[in-house]
């Protein structure tokens, strides 16, 4: 039986052909000019490759990119396929948003910091949570011991969220919460506070990350099997579309995929493949792609290989626009725009010679800007060993301001457009992405591929390769494996006192002592019934439980009972 080629495999083959054009000019030059030169100067051949293991030539010329590149592959800014940017005047009209976030030990500290930011004109709040919260363990779970408030704020019940937002008018701010597995519960808490403040639900604005696929792929913070989480996210999507139209429910994140050790091409491919899955999920739930897809946004990493990062971001825009149009039938331009936030790479930072990190972050930030980002977080130079100090955060912010105000890179859109190398590399990244799309499709789709550990294995292989290259000195980290300074010691970590833990435990006990246990029991029972019926939306039941002060862990334990827990497939 002959099998029809899939969209992905057809596209992949097209791209492979497109990017494989013979270059006789290069060949002639290499024979007659390059080789004699190399011989004459005694040049030792070595390997030049980027993170995606794409070999790089000595030089690129017009023969390395297809004819009609401008017409077919680039267009102009603000025009399909948006390779050169999503807005016609790009940063002339509006700079990228300089968004900085970090976590603070207790809800009280967070409240103080948020108020400080609001006083200084910030209206976009951003909250990071600690590990127990991210995994939905209450602060009194033995597993949480020693981890309370370590990498962000701890939330065990609605009471903690009430403290975080005490005196803050939710109708006047937008809040971004970096939370995934328990995203529906935290969203419900936010809604509950809005209700208490009397803010109409359609004015609640903000974002939860809720990109559960990348948790299985990279960040590994999950509670249930993938299908269960996806179902809860679907419930949240439907509930929020109907009730809180300003609440963005998914931020599709490549950042963590990259930090887990992937290459730039893998980050690109896996993130966008996740995005396609959410598009299909929305369409399956009966939503019109043009109504729903514009609310999806992306979150990418910007790492140290300058041109590779720029090429990755340019390719991302083109892929998204094309596939949404060609495969998912999107009609409106708005739907085709890939909007993204970028954060500079945490992995490239070193505790050795920490000020070098300022330079790394600068280069990475510049790549993000030249790649056309909509918002940017620059890491602080001390983040390799600690939560950032105020001084370091300020320098990180100044880095963005210098790029924006002094360098002139914002004067024109996509200044690298038309560079032979950048265009060739953009095409190559696109091809690599489609190679993966095709492969994932052959495995039965991304959910199956993730459950089988395929993407995880690909990432682990890349990260192992990179580590070995570092060990062999084929790849360099200044201060780590070259230009070292002897006797250098890591700087001490900023410590969070045990006070945060005690503070949280006390409040949790208070909550347990003062709530109506009968109502809590009833709310959790009703939630269980709802979870057991695939077609019932769980969101109102989660909200009810939250409002009765059922704790984060109690609520998620209902799911643990109904859906079971999840162990990752064997990766190495």
């Amino acid at each position: 039986m002959e099998k029809k080629d899939s969209y992905w495999s057809l596209k992949y083959r097209q791209l492979r052909e497109q990017n494989h054009s013979p270059n006789s000019e290069y060949g002639e030059w290499a024979d007659n000019t390059l080789t004699p030169w190399n011989r004459q100067t005694g040049f030792q051949e070595k390997e030049f490759t980027n993170s995606s293991n794409i070999p790089i030539k000595e030089v690129y010329n017009s023969k390395d990119i297809p004819e009609n590149t401008e017409k077919h592959l680039l267009g102009l800014p603000g025009r399909y396929p948006f390779t050169r940017g999503i807005y016609p005047n790009m940063y002339r009209g509006r700079l990228w948003t300089m968004r900085m976030f970090s976590g603070f030990g207790t809800p009280e500290d967070t409240n103080k910091r948020l108020k400080y930011l609001i006083k200084h004109g910030e209206s976009g709040l951003s909250i990071a949570f600690d590990m127990p919260t991210l995994y939905a363990y209450d602060c009194d779970n033995p597993r949480a011991d020693g981890e309370i408030g370590k990498c962000g704020v701890n939330v065990s019940s609605l009471k903690d969220m009430e403290v975080i937002f005490k005196g803050i008018d939710l109708s006047k701010v937008s809040t971004s919460m970096t939370i995934n597995a328990p995203a529906a519960i935290l969203t419900a808490m936010y809604i509950a506070i809005g209700k208490k403040q009397g803010v109409p639900l359609d004015q609640l604005a903000g974002t939860v990350q809720a990109d559960i696929l990348k948790e299985y792929i990279a960040q590994k913070e999950w509670i249930y099997p993938p299908e269960a989480h996806l179902r809860l996210i679907r419930d949240m999507m439907v509930y929020c579309t109907e009730n809180t139209p300003k609440w963005n429910y998914i931020s599709i994140s490549g950042y963590h995929i990259r930090e887990a050790g992937s290459s730039a091409a893998q980050e690109l491919a896996f993130t966008i493949a996740d995005g396609f899955y959410y598009v299909e999920m929305g369409m399956k739930a009966g939503l019109d792609v043009d109504d729903f897809a514009p609310r999806l946004s992306f979150f990418f990493n910007s790492s140290i290989n300058f041109f590779e990062e720029i090429a990755k971001l340019r390719a991302a825009r083109r892929i998204w626009a094309r596939v949404l149009k060609e495969k998912y039938g999107a009609k409106k331009d708005r739907t085709l725009l890939l909007r993204f936030h970028t954060q500079t790479s945490g992995y490239t930072l070193t505790w050795q010679q920490p000020l070098n990190n300022v330079i790394r972050t600068t280069i990475e930030a510049l790549a993000a800007v030249l790649g056309g980002t909509q918002s940017l977080h620059t890491n602080s130079y001390d983040e390799a060993w600690a939560l950032p100090s105020e001084e370091a955060v300020k320098i990180a912010l100044r880095t963005q301001q210098i790029i924006a105000e002094e360098t002139g890179v914002i004067d024109t859109a996509d200044p690298l457009g038309g560079s032979y190398y950048v265009e060739w590399l953009t095409n190559k990244m696109e091809e690599e992405a489609f190679r993966y799309f095709d492969q994932i499709d052959r495995m039965g789709g991304i959910l199956e591929a993730v459950k089988a550990g395929y993407l995880q294995k690909e990432i682990a292989a890349t990260s192992y390769r990179r580590q070995m290259r570092l060990e062999e000195g084929k790849e360099i980290m200044v201060g780590v494996n070259k230009h070292k300074e002897e006797g250098e010691q890591p700087i001490n970590i900023l410590k969070i006192s045990k006070k945060a833990q005690k503070n949280q435990l006390d409040r949790l006990n208070e909550v347990r002592g003062s709530r109506d246990e009968e109502q809590v029991r009833k709310a959790l029972e009703e939630l269980e019934t709802a979870m057991r019926k695939e077609d019932v939306n769980t969101m109102p039941f989660i909200l009810r439980a939250v409002e009765e002060y059922a704790t984060l862990e109690e609520i998620s334990n209902v799911g643990r009972k109904v859906f079971g827990s999840w162990k990752e497939p064997v990766i190495v």
């Binding site: 590990m131 127990p132 991210l134 995994y135 363990y137 597993r143 949480a144 011991d145 020693g146 981890e147 370590k150 990498c151 948790e215 960040q219 590994k220 913070e221 930090e259 887990a260 050790g261 992995y347 070193t350 505790w351 050795q352 390799a384 060993w385 682990a460 990260s463 192992y464 580590q467 070995m468 060990e471 980290m477 780590v480 494996n481 010691q489 890591p490 700087i491 001490n492 970590i493 969070i496 162990k567 990752e568 990766i571 190495v572």
Partner: protein, 150 residues
């Protein structure tokens, strides 16, 4: 019965090592790299996956009769969590399994960890060869202890 130490118990036997992140911490990039690197260095590597409890770690180490337990944490909870593993070992009177640590561990914590019997405590960027060397030394110490008369 022949007298003397029986070396054949360990002759040609690879070092057996348990790799674990016994806290709430999903950052497994480093530990996966180490698992592969240790295997390529000829060790028998047991990796129990994410989120094992300290009890699970010690149970597994005993059942598998490993030479070394290697702990890694990047979430700053090492002083609490590593200590739990060390306490469990002490409580069960286990002194023929070495414990080594790694992760984002500040200098100031290292002597305290050493005192608990947790050695190494390497940070990010440490060459793998150095870690392998340390593990090999610790494993040899343990095997000397375990040698049995034949």
């Amino acid at each position: 019965m022949e007298a003397g130490k029986n070396q054949s118990l360990f002759k040609g036997k690879p070092i057996k090592i348990l790799l674990a992140k016994p806290g709430i911490d999903g950052h497994d990039r480093g530990i996966l790299v180490l698992a592969k690197a240790f295997r390529d260095a000829g060790m028998e590597v047991i990796y129990v996956g994410l989120l094992p409890t300290p009890e699970e770690v010690v149970d597994t180490a005993v059942n598998e009769d490993v030479d070394v337990i290697a702990l890694s944490l990047l979430n700053g909870a090492h002083m609490t969590v590593f200590k739990k593993v060390a306490d469990l070992m002490k409580g069960r009177n286990i002194n023929d399994i070495a414990v080594v640590g790694g992760g984002t561990i500040p200098e100031g914590d290292k002597p305290k960890l050493e005192k608990m019997g947790i050695s190494g405590n390497y940070g990010p960027g440490t060459p793998i060869s150095k870690i392998v060397e340390h593990i090999t030394e610790r494993a040899a110490e343990m095997r000397k202890l375990k040698s049995m008369e034949e």
